[in-house]
Symmetry: C2
Subunit: 258 residues, 2 copies
């Protein structure tokens, strides 16, 4: 199934759930949609915090619903399997289509996600523990402060994947090639140095096994902008539901900077 | 002073000692000179173990004394500040010139050294502990086996530099650009996983301080081929004396693969 075919199924309501593992090789994105009077500050927050908030694409102007650069025939109002509607920072409802919520002042942001770099790690022969254990990746609120932009601020949320040392070094090399999907890790080793008190109790997702000869690697995580959005409390904000992403026509390899 | 001027001083006996810190920005090399009937196996050992034995240049044919690709007017018989003559693997003497030892069957190998990547780390703002503490870098015999080639074999010798986690990740990125001067680290974290029982007791060089929030990074080290040469016991082998390197005309930046 091509990304265009999958988006067509999503648009017609045939596919409503998780996109993990679908259309391997193609970039999937996190979604954030904001009113124009909040868009500048959010864009600034992304620019100032490129590791947790890597912007893959954004709508050229408020109200724009297509984004030809990321997908043939793409429509942001119908091509995400599940949307979350936040009002004043509170989750109000989860819907399969946002045509009735659409306004001419809404600006769409698509942010890179870890699926792309996990695919690159696996293609290189590394074991990604959350995938081999069939769990959600463990995520933690760190004490690494994001750079503030207007009403947006907060600490960085990080995801964790454990590796043997040689694989950890290889993972840094591989992920450095992909800055638009969180890039190189932001920390490795002792979790308490970034404010994580118990590695076995993630704030989001599931704990995974860490073997005695492994070292935990921490990546900036796409939950960071969601937390910043919840704290900033814009009157309206629409995101994807966790795991139900925008599937683009961009090959993952296209994101490699070299 | 240009590298050519320094080599001229070395040739005339005006400069006889360490080259550390001289001609900053230019590649310095380890030296190994072997009879032709040992050269093929040593070259194979370098090819099979590129991280500890990164070949920057070699003489085009046995007996060749100039190497125009690495230095204008370079002469291997006189342009190293201090040489070590090994017979059957035993150090026989240390001399300032090898004109009287030269033979038409000798083959010269120049191997990359850590000075180049240390300069790149410092240029990026990282603290290299052995330099800031004014000590020789600590080196350890690891249990990482080299790939054998004919009579050459042995375990890898590694050098160690400690960094905070974020700097460790940056060091992996920087050194990955320089595969011909040992490249990315081969290990990080727990020293016992590569057979090092006491990080404060290096087998060569000096111990350096490691702070509580730092992680040790281990690089493949140019002492590895020296150990392999001592073990293989060729009838004749000539090397540089530790720290008294060949100073080439190659800019360090020229070694960056990207």
């Amino acid at each position: 199934m091509t990304p265009e075919q999958l988006r067509s199924q999503i648009r017609s309501g045939q596919h409503t759930g998780n996109t993990s593992g679908l259309c391997p090789g193609f970039v999937q994105c996190n979604v954030a949609i904001l009113p124009a009077d909040w868009a500048f500050e959010f864009l600034q927050f992304c620019q100032l915090n490129p590791k947790p908030c890597p912007l893959v694409a954004m709508a050229a102007s408020p109200g724009q619903t297509d984004m030809p650069s990321i997908g043939q025939g793409f429509d942001i109002r119908s091509d995400v399997p599940s949307y979350r509607i936040f009002k004043d920072g509170q989750l109000e409802q989860e819907v399969g289509d946002i045509r009735e919520f659409w306004r001419d002042d809404l600006v769409t942001f698509l942010l890179g996600c870890s699926f792309s770099f996990e695919e690159a790690l696996i293609a290189d022969g590394l074991e990604v523990r959350n995938i081999s254990q069939g769990r959600n990746v463990p995520m933690y609120r760190s004490n690494i402060a994001c750079n503030s932009a207007g009403r947006f601020s907060g600490d960085m949320v990080v995801s964790m994947r454990p590796f043997k040392a040689a694989d950890a070094i290889r993972a840094v090399q591989i992920c450095s090639r992909f800055p638009s999907v969180h890039g190189a890790p932001v920390h490795l080793g002792n979790p308490s140095l970034i404010g994580i008190s118990d590695i076995n109790k993630p704030d989001y997702g599931d704990a995974v096994d860490i073997h005695a000869d492994e070292i935990p690697l921490f990546w900036a995580c796409g939950v960071t902008p969601q937390v910043a959005l919840e704290q900033a409390k814009p009157p309206l904000c629409i995101t994807h539901s966790p795991g139900a992403m925008v599937v683009t026509d961009l090959p993952n390899s296209r994101l490699a900077i070299m």
